[in-house]
Amino acid sequence: MMRRIRRRAQDKPYVVSLTSLMDIVTNILVYTIKIFAVSPIVVQDPSVELPKSSSQKDAEESVVVMVTGMRRQVNETPTIVVDGREVERLDPKTYRVPESAKNNGYVINKLKQELLSIKANQKESAGLIKGSGFTGHVVIVADRYTPYRVLVDVLVTCGDAGFGNFEFAVIKQEA
């Protein structure tokens, strides 16, 4: 009896069943896609560490103004980035926007130009793509050590460029 079973096992080549592994991989894939669908803002820059907040409001698709590299990464120059494009460098010693880069004490010239360009593009796309258009919506993604002075400069500039709906990005934390 044992000899017959052993012979049968030798005759038939061993096939690894991948079906269960396939299920696991598909589940992980669905989970990761769901996370992407829930959060349209992804912060990958290691120099940006968001503060935690009890706010449970979800982020929406909008223009992202990022203030990077404050305080922790001393060797890295802090920058202001709009939708992935660097527009202005901050003074690494004072962590402020240089006065020469500003107008009226608050408005950051290059940031305003970039935002006006985005605004023009959004208005242009409104006629071509249904459901698109200028919303005036902007999300500020700033490092948790960003000083109030820089935040106010960014906010005033956004407002001056016509972006009136502001939101601060945070990491959701249970209250």
Binding site: I35, Y145, F166, I171
Partner: protein, 162 residues
């Protein structure tokens, strides 16, 4: 070729589909998506546009205007309610407290006071924030958290406290 299939059929074996290439693609997709996402639940806090002209013009209303202003100083918090300051004579209303050998803002005391004010002005939802230029974003976020959900409309004032 045809003979081989006929042999399998005659043996009663069901041919399994080749899922190995599809597995490879799915696995690569998972790796790419995992690499791209930070796996942090990102939320947002809505704020109002900074007012260059200060707290705003008075509205014609019989009810007194709250105009609740939170001032984040280097040494603690001060509050302004209906145009009058609540600060102490010898320092801020809520000075920083010692915690783990560090001086930190007293968010609990601020929250308690805001709850008290909310009971007197149940209709008002708005706070105005002013801060020292060096106040960090994390502390500002925690002040907004302390005010939520009693006061969930936050306005920033560009004016700095020196």
């Amino acid at each position: 070729m045809r003979g081989r299939f006929r042999d399998r059929e005659s043996l009663g074996e069901v041919p399994e589909p080749e899922i190995l290439p599809m597995m490879n693609i799915l696995f690569m997709l998972v790796m790419v998506l995992m690499g791209m996402s930070a796996f942090l639940p990102i939320g947002v806090i809505s704020i109002q546009a900074p007012q260059l002209s200060g707290a705003g013009a008075p509205v014609a209303d019989s009810r007194p205007e709250l105009n609740l202003t939170i001032m984040i100083l280097k040494t603690g918090f001060n509050l302004s309610v209906a145009g009058s300051m609540l600060k102490c004579e010898d320092g801020p209303l809520f000075p920083k407290i010692q915690k783990d050998s560090q001086l930190v803002y007293n968010f609990a005391a601020l929250r308690a006071k805001l709850t008290e004010i909310k009971a007197q002005y149940p209709q008002d939802k708005r706070i105005i924030l002013m801060a020292d230029p060096n106040t960090i974003y994390e502390d500002i976020t925690r002040v907004m958290d302390a005010a939520r959900p009693m006061f969930d409309e936050v306005a920033f004032v560009p004016g700095m406290i020196q």
